[in-house]
């Protein structure tokens, strides 16, 4: 029997604003209660008092290399069970969907690992939805490889064929990060990846000029991998890929999205504000998390590297090179909101701006925008009618109180937020 659930006494993030309204769920989808009222003339079977919580769509992470000790790039570890295990643990960060990311690896690794990480719908039982794979590299610039291994990098002399030889199949892949200045990328590879394989092409780990970046966007690329990191710095006579945030040769309807690691380590909050002010609708929060996400300080394994976690920083063992973040996506949302608050000098309106703008924009950067990158903004990353019922309860500081996937409670911070305790009405 399909039950009708009503969540009340809550604030919703909907239509770019915080509104006082109820959330109605049936069959794992968010539904329109007005239609039910007038057409079906029934009331909710079960009602939950949300104790004034803020309800947002579940967070979506487009770049995550591993978590809770598991490394998505490791062929040894790769298995459906491991993926599900991480998918379940990520619900404690408010993440209801993610794109497991694989760093530059050898062809053998790709051909072993890519077929294993299939897309799957999320559930309370199996954790967050798997939205496909993000293959970051190996067709990237050596000078901007960051933590990727030099000996794994490749060039695209023969165009798309080189990529097919390397990866095997694109079937389970959603996003690919590449350097557009490599041979044949703009002319041949990017258009084919977009048109033939339906991939989201992201520019990153690149020495591309703005001109090359623009041609890449016109060729079909729509995302920038962790803006500011692993690319040329913005220069006023040579803006590089960062200049894509204000570039003019693109059609007005083309939105260039950009990932940003807002963990207080990879991007200065002033840089966050700069990017946000210039192009707020394109900002996508990503964790670019390493397997140590969720674990205390120590040494862990990623790709073919040893990494060291110390406080908020994760570096390659023996160097100072940052190799990804250990901030959860929930923390990134909090850090982004704080960055926006820090940038508001008018103290009189700061509370109003916080509640009408900063909270909403920080949350949308982790929900609506990543969904838009993947063209799934009608299903995910939104509380609009018809969308999948993936949502989270947040407190005023944007800490995660509970996570729901397909309408079922997948995680709660304490028993206080268990639906058994929130229920005020059960089926007649």
């Amino acid at each position: 029997m399909t039950l009708l659930y009503r969540f009340y006494n809550c604030t919703l993030v909907r239509d770019h604003a915080l509104i006082q309204d109820d959330l109605w769920i049936r069959n794992g989808k968010i539904i329109n209660p007005e239609k039910i009222f007038f057409s079906e003339k029934t009331r909710a079977d079960i009602e939950y008092d949300c104790q004034g919580a803020l309800i947002a769509p579940g967070y979506i992470d487009l770049q995550i290399n591993g978590a809770f000790g598991h490394d998505f790039s490791s062929a040894d570890e790769a298995s459906e069970e491991m993926l599900i295990k991480v998918a379940k643990l990520l619900t404690s960060h408010g993440v209801t969907a993610f794109v497991p990311t694989i760093v530059s690896s050898l062809p053998e690794t790709y051909q072993e690992v890519l077929p294993i990480y299939k897309r799957r719908a999320g559930s309370a039982k199996d954790g967050a939805t798997i939205l496909g794979i993000h293959i970051e590299g190996p067709f990237i610039a050596e000078n901007k490889r960051g933590a990727h291994r030099t000996d794994f990098l490749r060039k695209s002399e023969c165009g798309i064929e080189d990529l097919k030889t390397c990866y095997g199949s694109f079937e389970n892949v959603s996003i690919i990060t590449l350097a557009p200045e490599l041979p044949n990328m703009v002319e041949n590879v990017i258009p084919e990846l977009v048109a033939r394989h339906d991939l989201v092409v992201s520019l990153g780990h690149s020495t591309a000029t703005l001109d090359c970046g623009e041609r890449a966007i016109l060729a079909g690329a729509r995302f920038i991998t962790h803006l500011f990191n692993a690319m040329l710095p913005f220069h006023h006579r040579d803006p590089g890929l960062v200049g894509l945030l204000t570039t003019h040769p693109l059609p007005a309807t083309t939105i260039v999205y950009y990932g940003l690691i807002v963990d207080t380590v990879h991007t200065h909050s002033a840089a966050v504000r700069l990017a946000h002010r210039v192009h707020p609708h394109g900002l996508v929060l990503v964790t670019d998390a390493v397997p140590a996400l969720g674990f205390p300080d120590g040494t862990y394994h990623m790709g073919a590297h040893e990494i060291v976690v110390n406080g908020k920083r994760a570096t390659i063992a023996g160097t100072e090179t940052l190799c990804g973040s250990i901030a959860s996506l929930a923390e990134c949302v909090q850090y982004m909101r704080q960055a926006l608050l820090d940038g508001e000098t008018n103290k009189e309106i700061i509370n109003e701006k916080d509640s009408t703008q900063f909270v909403v924009e920080s949350i949308e950067a982790a929900t609506l925008h990543p969904a838009q990158v993947l063209h799934i903004e009608n299903q995910k990353g939104t509380l609009s009618f018809g969308a999948d019922a993936d949502f989270i309860f947040l407190d005023k500081s944007l800490n995660i109180l509970s996570t729901f996937i397909a309408g079922e409670q997948a995680w709660t911070v304490t028993d206080q937020w268990s639906i058994d305790n929130l229920q005020t009405k059960s089926s007649q």
Binding site: E34, F37, F38, K41
Partner: protein
Amino acid sequence: MRLVITDDYSAMAEWGARYIKKRINDFKPDANRLFVLGLPTGSTPLGTYKKLIEFVKAKQLSFQYVVTFNMDEYVGLPRDHPESYHSFMWNNFFKHIDIDPKNVHILDGNATDLIHECNEYEKAIQQVGGVELFVGGIGPDGHIAFNEPGSSLVSRTRVKTLAQDTIIANARFFGNDIKKVPTSALTVGVGTVMDAKEVLILISGTSKAYALHMAIEEGVNHMWTVSAFQNHPRFLCVCDEDATMELKVKTVRYFKSLMPVHSKLIEDNGAPSLLHTEN
């Protein structure tokens, strides 16, 4: 009739809400004896709806055993259009209270047979034993519901073509594009509202002042259809100071002097008002 004159819009809204609350609570409706309430739309009753919602949230009032009949609905407007009266009632009232959706009646402006829809509506009202209290407003041209000037004073629920004045007045809800405003509506008739045991009309603002004057100080006239309620045994009119601007000083002074009596109609003393007699 009784004319209750309050200071301003919010005082009028609150008075109206408290009256409705007391009427329902004194009636003590239950599963076998439902309270049948007629309801309007528009800016005038908004404040009253807000107050009623507050009462429900404070557990001072329940709509569990209340049946509602709305006055009207546009023809041809999709039910989920933001300006439909279904949308109005859902957003401003029904979504916030504990009413059973099965007890809610609103005319369907998209019915394939509009006349049949109107006739069925009349039957539905009869089937629940008639309306106990019909709440309404008044148009600047003195109309009740969509009973435009010239409507029969014994009319029943039917299709009405809207007057040009009404269409112009409504254009503001349709992006000021006259072409987008519906040109006809389904409406309860003057006779339908007259059948109710009691009629409560809310009137606010100077734009309604002349209509109020024509409704209660001049004769019964189908050009000012609210005037028909002069023939109703229990006609209660609640207005604010601005709406009295066209009334005689004598009229206003008389009804103001009755305020101590009228106040008993909304007293929260748990006992039914002894004034539920004819006016």
